[in-house]
């Protein structure tokens, strides 16, 4: 198998050596293989950005469980993505304290600036917008996460500051 083929199959349905090493490390903690199902999904998602059908089947085979059972687990957890997401995921808090402090207006502003609604990814594949249960920063509401960063005290100006430059070259006006 040449390199080009290797890369192709690697992305599709073969777990890489690096992924297998990381999964094996988790397997050492658990009494049976399927016990590492969530960890394996996170490991593969960290490399590939999301869990494709091919990735799911490869993990299931390695953990000696059915793809259907693993699918039930993958779709249960909101930080496992079964669809491609942007480079950064915006986890937008719409729980009660943020709602009292006006998060509905902020959500609308994000939709206006980035052109995406919940569950959608910007055209330039930079951002996906997803709602998230209360982020535990209610004293700084409204809040959201952009990638690994918590952004607090949201208002329209902050949304402009964060996203407008991106929107200029990637938004609705190609």
């Amino acid at each position: 198998m040449n390199d080009a083929q290797m890369i192709h199959t690697d992305l599709d349905s073969v777990l890489s050596a690096e992924e297998l090493t990381a999964i094996d490390r988790e397997l050492s903690h658990v009494p049976y293989k399927s016990g590492a199902a969530i960890d394996a999904l996170k490991i593969v998602q960290a490399k590939r950005g999301w869990i494709s059908d091919q990735s799911l089947q490869a993990i299931a085979k390695y953990l000696e469980m059915s793809a259907e059972e693993l699918e039930g687990i993958a779709t249960f957890y909101n930080l496992i993505y079964r669809r491609p997401v942007g480079k950064k995921v915006i986890l937008f808090c719409d729980s009660v304290s943020c709602w009292i402090c006006g998060c509905d207006g902020i959500k609308q502003k994000i939709t206006d600036v980035l052109g995406v609604n919940y569950g959608e990814t910007t055209e330039d594949k930079e951002y996906s917008l997803i709602p998230v249960p209360c982020l535990g920063a209610c004293d700084k509401a409204p809040v959201m996460m952009v990638g690994d960063d918590l952004v607090t005290h949201l208002d329209d100006a902050k949304i402009d500051e964060l996203f407008t430059d991106k929107a200029k070259y990637s938004g609705g006006n190609p």
Binding site: A37, F76, Y77, L79, I80, P133, G136, K140
Partner: protein
């Protein structure tokens, strides 16, 4: 007041490293226990301290631990201690602070708790979104292994313990202890039937204790300074201090360590700075999104488990959410029910199908499409879904708490929506 849980947390919120933690009495409780206290001694001290679980239910910690089979009453194998750091209750934001700013306090509490119940493996089950806390806990664990506080033969004793940080893949229901255990086992986080209780058969079928972050943060102080000292800290019925928080439209939202039994008025008016200009307090949820509303008539109650319970609500997490007079109570309840409907694990029908039904009725009322009989429908749902025993776990009954109390205290607001044909508030358009 003496600061206990926040003694190492400064205004700059800088994380405390091992050196600074030790310099302020850190790991003294652990040294004391390993040098001269048996697990039974530690169990007795925690029971005598009257420490109650800070995660929301308020179950006595000593009693919870006492159900773990010890010594020759336990079959050979692992026992587990799990820290529930899956803080997702709407309006709760206390554990984040404790973990980000003083990770060693949690770890020392966990080592002592594991010693008491005889656990040899321990997990911090933390929500994946707490990126900074995850990193700081991992750094702190590495410091502990280097210093001999974790690993084999801790501080030269016969006690050994390994500890792991386990970031969750999401979902509110993972905060329910048996759902959390299923998540740790790599399964869907559906709660388990009880009994058997986790103390007897938990993670991988072995004895397991699951405690909240704040509960565990208290342990080292109690072991170090004794139950009598801890009992003097509260100003009401309950012992110790508590992280209390206020969110909503107050002048100074935040989280503070205060004595158990601090009056609600003092928390809201003094620490949170009172309502923002032009707003009146209409009601509040005393301990997160799944607790019943109280009103301005309850402001002089003490924040103690039984006092708040007698007033018809629960102290829950101790993080108060304020409803002001310009925010729609129906909209607020709809937000909460929408949350719980979305976070239902789907296992039992009253929760999976009942909560979306409640959400639908509330959406109709909020948007002006409600009918007079909708209030009867909501009352029926509360009676059915809100009864523990009709559902598999406490999620759906918890969801009914703010709804039933909103109907009790703010019924006229529901009626104004129904008979006026629209929402009389302007909450949705606020920026």
């Amino acid at each position: 007041m003496e600061k206990v849980l926040t003694r190492n947390i400064g205004a700059d919120l800088k994380p405390t490293d091992l050196k600074a933690y030790e310099a302020n009495g850190g790991y003294r409780g652990l040294r004391k226990a390993l040098a001269g206290l048996s697990p039974k001694d530690c169990q007795d001290v925690i029971s005598a301290s009257n420490l109650r679980g800070r995660g929301g239910a308020g179950f006595p910690t000593g009693m919870k631990w006492s159900f773990v089979p010890m010594d020759d009453r336990c079959t050979p194998g692992h026992k587990y201690l799990v820290c529930n750091a899956d803080e997702m209750e709407p309006g709760a934001f206390k554990d984040r602070l404790l973990m980000e700013c003083d990770p060693h306090q949690l770890i020392e509490g966990m080592i002592l708790s594991a010693y008491t119940i005889g656990a040899d493996i321990s997990y911090i089950f933390i929500r994946g979104e707490y990126v900074a806390a995850i990193q700081r806990l991992r750094d702190a664990l590495a410091e502990c292994y280097n210093a001999g506080y974790l690993g084999d033969n801790i501080l030269g004793s016969t006690f050994s313990l390994n500890m792991y940080v386990h970031p969750s893949a999401g979902r509110y229901i993972c905060g329910e202890e048996t759902a959390l255990i299923n998540a740790l086992e790599g399964k869907r986080a559906n709660p388990r039937a009880k009994p058997p209780f986790p103390q007897v058969s938990g993670l991988w079928g072995r004895p397991t204790i699951v405690n909240n972050v704040e509960t565990l943060c208290n342990i080292s102080h109690i072991i170090d300074r004794g139950a009598d000292w801890f009992n003097t800290l509260g100003v009401g019925e309950d012992s110790g201090t508590k992280m209390f928080g206020v969110s909503g439209r107050v002048n100074n939202p935040g989280c503070w360590e205060l004595p158990m039994g601090t009056p609600i008025r003092e928390i809201i008016e003094h620490h949170a700075g009172g309502m923002q200009q032009g707003l009146q307090l209409k009601g509040f949820l005393p301990g997160g999104g799944s607790t019943d509303f109280l009103t301005d008539k309850h402001l002089d109650l003490a924040m103690d488990y039984n006092v708040i319970g007698k007033a018809g609500s629960r102290m829950g997490t101790g993080t108060i959410i304020i409803l002001d007079d310009q925010t729609c109570p129906v909209g607020m309840v709809l937000n909460l029910i929408r949350f719980f409907a979305h976070e239902s694990c789907g296992f039992c029908t009253p929760c999976r199908d009942g909560l979306p039904w409640s959400r639908q009725v509330l959406e109709d009322i909020e948007s002006g499409r409600g009918h007079a009989e909708d209030l009867d429908t909501l009352a029926y749902q509360i009676g059915y879904i809100g009864t523990i025993g009709n559902t598999h776990c406490a999620l759906a009954p918890g969801a009914m708490e703010p709804l039933q109390s909103a109907l009790k205290y703010f019924r006229d607001d529901f009626e104004r929506h129904i008979y006026g044909g629209c929402c009389p508030y302007n909450t949705a358009r606020r920026a």
